[in-house]
């Protein structure tokens, strides 16, 4: 009897340690260790993970106001705006003031939400609309388009990437009775001053020297500009009768708008592509909001 009692403990130890033998107590112990480890990890994540805790201020923030974070970057920007100092140089009073201001602002924003300020104040509504539209547009910039995509965009919209035409012209006006003769004289190469003196004409002075097309259009008016635009360099336009007489536009130089080469147009191509992406994203976003909304329209407007 005494011999059996003395040998029992070694058998129990070997059953616990021998993986080839079934040991219910070992299984239970390992399960417990696993459960405790899992709980430790879950608890740790719950209380330390970014955005999941209300007890710890994350490193990237300087405060939580009713759970709403105030970003450290905003705090640093506030210190710079208020005192033109970096955090390392700021006095405790300056730091306190910057933080207090940000906390007060956050509290007022939260109160504004409670009061639904955006529902009533047109300025806040406009700012809110703008902010939401902008936030949607931000996605258009987060991924740079591949060069092949930009090249294809350029090829498909070449007309958008043209330079402005340049024209050098004079607007000459003659009495209707002498206009035809004056035009013949000008086309034959007679000096302008001589022709003006001989046929009682004058230079209106609307265009002087080189002008971009848009400027010439403003200065000459649509009708005269169209006539000028179609006139090659060194020639006289067709006659255009207006209230003050018969006009001829004498064109010295005329360089119509021309598409820029891709390399020169690249910044504009990139910007145009981005703007189009922004428009598309914002339209999709509005459609999405509309689809998920319940909009009841008054009978007279249906």
């Amino acid at each position: 009897m005494s011999t059996v009692l003395q040998e029992a403990p070694p058998r129990a130890r070997s059953a616990w340690l021998d993986p080839r033998r079934t040991a219910p107590r070992r299984s239970l112990a390992l399960c417990a260790v696993g459960a405790v480890t899992g709980l430790l990890f879950a608890g740790g994540a719950l209380f330390t993970a970014r955005g999941a805790t209300t007890l710890i201020v994350p490193a990237e923030d300087v405060a939580l106001v009713n759970g709403q974070p105030i970003a450290r970057s905003d705090y640093v920007a506030s210190l710079r705006a208020l005192y033109d100092v970096d955090p390392a140089e700021a006095t405790p009073e300056q730091k306190r003031k910057a933080l207090d201001d940000l906390v007060a602002e956050e509290l007022l924003v939260q109160r504004g939400k409670e009061l639904d300020v955006a529902g009533a104040d047109p300025d806040v509504r406009a700012a809110t609309v703008n902010a939401v539209e902008q936030s949607v547009a931000a996605d258009a910039l987060s991924k740079a388009p591949a060069p092949s995509v930009l090249r294809a965009w350029y090829e498909a919209h070449r007309d958008r990437f043209a330079d402005e035409g340049v024209i050098t012209a004079r607007d000459l006006v003659f009495p209707p009775a002498k206009a035809a003769a004056a035009a013949r004289a000008l086309r034959s190469g007679a000096p302008v001053a001589t022709v003006l003196a001989q046929f009682g004409g004058h230079d209106t002075g609307r265009v002087k020297g080189q002008e971009f097309y848009f400027a010439a259009r403003i200065h000459l008016g649509a009708t005269l500009f169209e006539a000028a635009r179609r006139t090659p360099a060194g020639q006289l336009s067709a006659p255009i009768t207006q209230a003050d007489g018969v006009h001829f536009v004498q064109v010295a130089a005329n360089k119509p708008p021309a598409a820029l080469p891709y390399e020169a147009a690249l910044p504009a191509v990139r910007d145009d592509y981005t703007q189009e992406a922004v428009r598309r994203l914002q339209a999709q976003h509005r459609d999405f909001l509309r689809r998920r909304a319940t909009v009841l329209v008054a009978p007279d407007l249906r």
């Binding site: 990890f41 490193a59 990237e60 970096d86 931000a138 987060s142 330079d163 402005e164 020297g209 400027a215």
Partner: protein, 242 residues
């Protein structure tokens, strides 16, 4: 064995997290973090830069003058003075990035277009006036120029053109609004050729940089900022032009 692996992974994750936290809590404008934290920030910043920024700024941060993406290695800072905190602000909020706090205080008007600026009153210039201002900018850099045209350009620059308002009377720019220094022989768009300068004046410029505040963590943004600051740490400034 599995338990040990999980524990090791957890420890590694916590280690990365604490290094990130130390980085975020550190003064961004202090000298670059040394030792393990510095290596950690630089390595991660480089990887993030290649993933997020290199498409525009190039793999080595050399920029792209054709697209107007600034060279980040040349000591010539368009926004701010090259402090990590300023770089961080640009990364976080972007430039004209459709983000609430983005940097968009000024656009270069298109002086040779019917509507030079969407937001502000800006004058239209005639083609010869664009040429004159171009000549003035060439003169600012002490390159061979037509003195009479440059003088007319100076009058426009300081007068009706209103260029001085952003670029300064001396042409040294304003890093507070991203107005480039026009006298330093460093060009954001192109290489400083006359036709390139004239196109900038005629068509305007409006570079953009995305805002990463909602896409990257504060630690990641700090890591990129530290890496970018390191790109221009070499003492050899560029600026030569073909």
């Amino acid at each position: 064995m599995a338990l040990a692996a999980v524990a090791a992974l957890g420890a590694a994750g916590m280690g990365a997290g604490s290094a990130g936290e130390r980085l975020v809590l550190a003064d961004p404008d202090a000298p670059a973090p040394s030792g393990a934290l510095g290596l950690f920030a630089h390595a991660r910043g480089r990887a993030l830069f290649h993933a997020k920024c290199a498409a525009c700024h190039g793999g080595e941060g050399q920029g792209d003058p054709a697209a107007g993406a600034p060279d980040l290695t040349d000591h010539d800072w368009l926004y701010g003075s090259g402090k990590a905190s300023e770089i961080e602000t640009v990364i976080r909020h972007g430039i004209r990035a459709f983000a609430p706090k983005t940097w968009k205080l000024a656009d270069m008007p298109a002086f040779g277009r019917a509507r030079p600026s969407a937001g502000e009153a800006a004058p239209q210039l005639a083609p010869n006036e664009v040429s004159d201002v171009t000549e003035f900018l060439i003169a600012l850099e002490k390159r061979p120029h037509d003195p009479a045209a440059a003088e007319r350009g100076r009058t426009l620059y300081l007068g009706r053109g209103g260029c001085f308002d952003c670029h300064g009377a001396d042409g040294r720019g304003d890093p507070g609004i991203g107005a480039p220094d026009l006298a330093d022989n460093v060009w954001l768009f192109g290489h400083g050729r006359r036709d390139e300068i004239a196109r900038s004046i005629s068509d305007g410029r409006r570079g953009r940089c995305p805002a990463w505040a909602d896409r990257l963590s504060s630690a990641e943004i700090r890591e990129i900022a530290i890496y970018v600051r390191g790109l221009s740490a070499s003492p050899a400034p560029r600026g030569s032009r073909p």
